[in-house]
Symmetry: C2
Subunit: 345 residues, 2 copies
């Protein structure tokens, strides 16, 4: 089988690798139908995080179950499934509490000993807890990007909106116009926000934000962005803030434009952030979010995608042939693409 492997900074290569086999009785083998590149894949691509040369990569995929272990009961051969970006047992205390990303037995795809999602086949641990079956068999082609978005990006944006406490009628700000930030705009819209202020200066991303429900676009950054948002809200600040970047500047911006008593939902893995605890304390601005429990959000979000009420796959603005998936990395790295998509089989 073919899979994308990491070599070195700025070097990923489509290669021949061994077919996966069932290793544990709770495993399933999935034939991947579509996969994509995540913003977090760029960390190792750019050499900003360590990764062993020759390792499989990627963690977003949808596909068809080809084989199951003897203890798999809720997923059957032939099922079309969405996989969240982490595997989880679905039964531990944290899974039951809805924080599947803290599963006692769970972990990341593409971690040591676990297949990456950017390949023709993936061995899925804890298949019963992890995979979500799409009812009705193989979906129409045009649904595939929207289903794939449930693997990570839309669930992550939804987590930002949920943990920021977005409620009907709220004025919401979204810091970050990457695929997750754009997904956050869509999620805030689905949760009933009356006004969504997207911080974006890129015309292509602005267009997606507007299509997803953004009512205001702020092109300024840092203190100027804060001033503009505060002015847009009559000096009050916003009712809920989605922080979808994870840098020191984005944190400061997010907490500064939040109104007293509101919450900032974070989903961008923080890098070198000095947390603005003084502002948070003085203004009673809370913090929510973290590593998204995408599995927990999958059932309700899947229903909405199948009904056609949301189209989260519109964040995919760059399609490449699977064999050329490395080009998807390059396009995202060079900001020629928001998010790269590849049909695999």
């Amino acid at each position: 089988m073919r899979a994308l492997l990491y070599n070195d900074a700025y070097s990923v290569t489509m290669s021949d690798v061994p077919d996966p086999v069932i290793e544990a009785s709770t495993d399933a083998i999935v034939r991947v139908v579509a996969t994509c590149v995540c913003g977090s894949d760029l960390w190792y691509y750019r050499g900003q995080s360590e990764r062993p040369p020759g390792s499989r990569i990627g963690h977003e995929f949808i596909g068809v179950v080809e084989e199951v272990g003897t203890d798999v009961g809720r997923v059957a051969v032939g099922d079309f499934v969405v996989s969240p970006f982490m595997y989880s047992d679905g039964s531990c205390v944290h899974c039951v509490n809805g924080i599947t990303s803290s599963c006692v037995h769970g972990g990341f795809f593409a971690a040591k000993g676990v297949d990456g999602g950017q390949g023709q086949f993936v061995r899925v641990p804890l298949a019963d807890g992890t995979l979500v079956v799409v009812p009705g068999g193989q979906p129409a082609d045009e649904l595939l990007p929207h289903l794939l978005a449930l693997s990570d990006v839309y669930g992550t944006g939804f987590h930002a909106a949920t943990t920021a406490g977005v409620r009907p009628g709220d004025v919401v700000a979204v810091v970050g116009d990457g695929a997750v930030g754009l997904s956050g705009v869509l999620a805030a819209s689905r949760l009933g926000a009356s006004r969504i202020i997207a911080l974006s200066r890129n015309p292509a991303r602005q267009a997606i934000a507007t299509a997803f429900g953004a009512t205001d676009l702020v092109e300024a950054r840092g203190a100027d962005a804060v001033a503009e948002v505060v002015e847009l809200t009559g000096g009050v600040g916003v009712d809920a803030t989605l922080e979808c970047v994870g840098t020191a500047e984005s944190f400061t911006t997010a907490f500064a434009l939040a109104r007293p008593g509101s919450r900032v939902g974070i989903v961008g893995m923080p890098h070198d952030v000095e947390f603005p605890l003084g502002i948070a304390f003085r203004n009673n601005v809370g913090l929510g979010g973290g590593l998204a429990p995408a599995r927990a959000y999958l059932p309700p979000l899947l229903t909405e995608v199948l009904e056609g009420s949301v189209e989260p796959g519109r964040v995919f603005d760059y399609e490449v042939a699977f064999e050329n998936l490395a080009e998807g990395y390059a396009a995202m790295d060079e900001r020629r693409a928001v998010k790269a998509y590849a049909r695999v089989s």
Copy 2:
């Protein structure tokens, strides 16, 4: 009139000061019946924060309205009132949102140009928004400490419990056994926690914690305390955490013993805290709280005190004559007292 004044580190003196007069039409003059010393008063007492020599101090008081400005309509001469530790207009967007501590026109007692609460009389700005009338006139003497606790300490502990999201049946940890931490234990109990783990090694404070509803006492600190709480909860962590100290160690402890998906409510003004953002992100442990909007909690908490269903004034374990209130500071500084109380008139 007599009032306690700040001189220098470890020096506060009961002194003659001018009687207050109505300065704005929204002011009221309150004759103080009881006042007390706050843990935060120890910052300047210990020279850890700046304060002008000769300035009035204190911010917790209850008493009788002696005079009102021409625009005061909801509070009348002769009313017995509780004052929260900050004044607020009650009508701005933040007050309406329940965050009276962010009032657009509000501020702190004992700030520049504003009377402190440790005196025989206090000029109260924005009296209609600030003061809460105790129905039925002068309350029985035994109620006074419980009413005074509503001025700051119990409202602050209640804020920690509320913003930590304590719900009926929750397992709760309270970090900090000062008067605020103990108040947090009581608040968690009132909010229906089934188990309350208090971190305390001081027998006198342990006794109050137990009287307030603590079911478990943990004497260890730091990593040992975390290990003990994690073991007490079967490896899971607690459902809600109250952080009532504000140091780097207490923050780390609080976030480490919180279960994934839970929240830490903070009310201890943070000092030199390196926020544990990595743990918070990985475990989806949220942050709530900040400067307590004590005014917003006053009406429901007042009802409970008058019904006798809570006795938050049990945190006062040291009574001094008003003229000797400086001794209350010394007793708290030397940890001979949890919280010092003085009857004024």
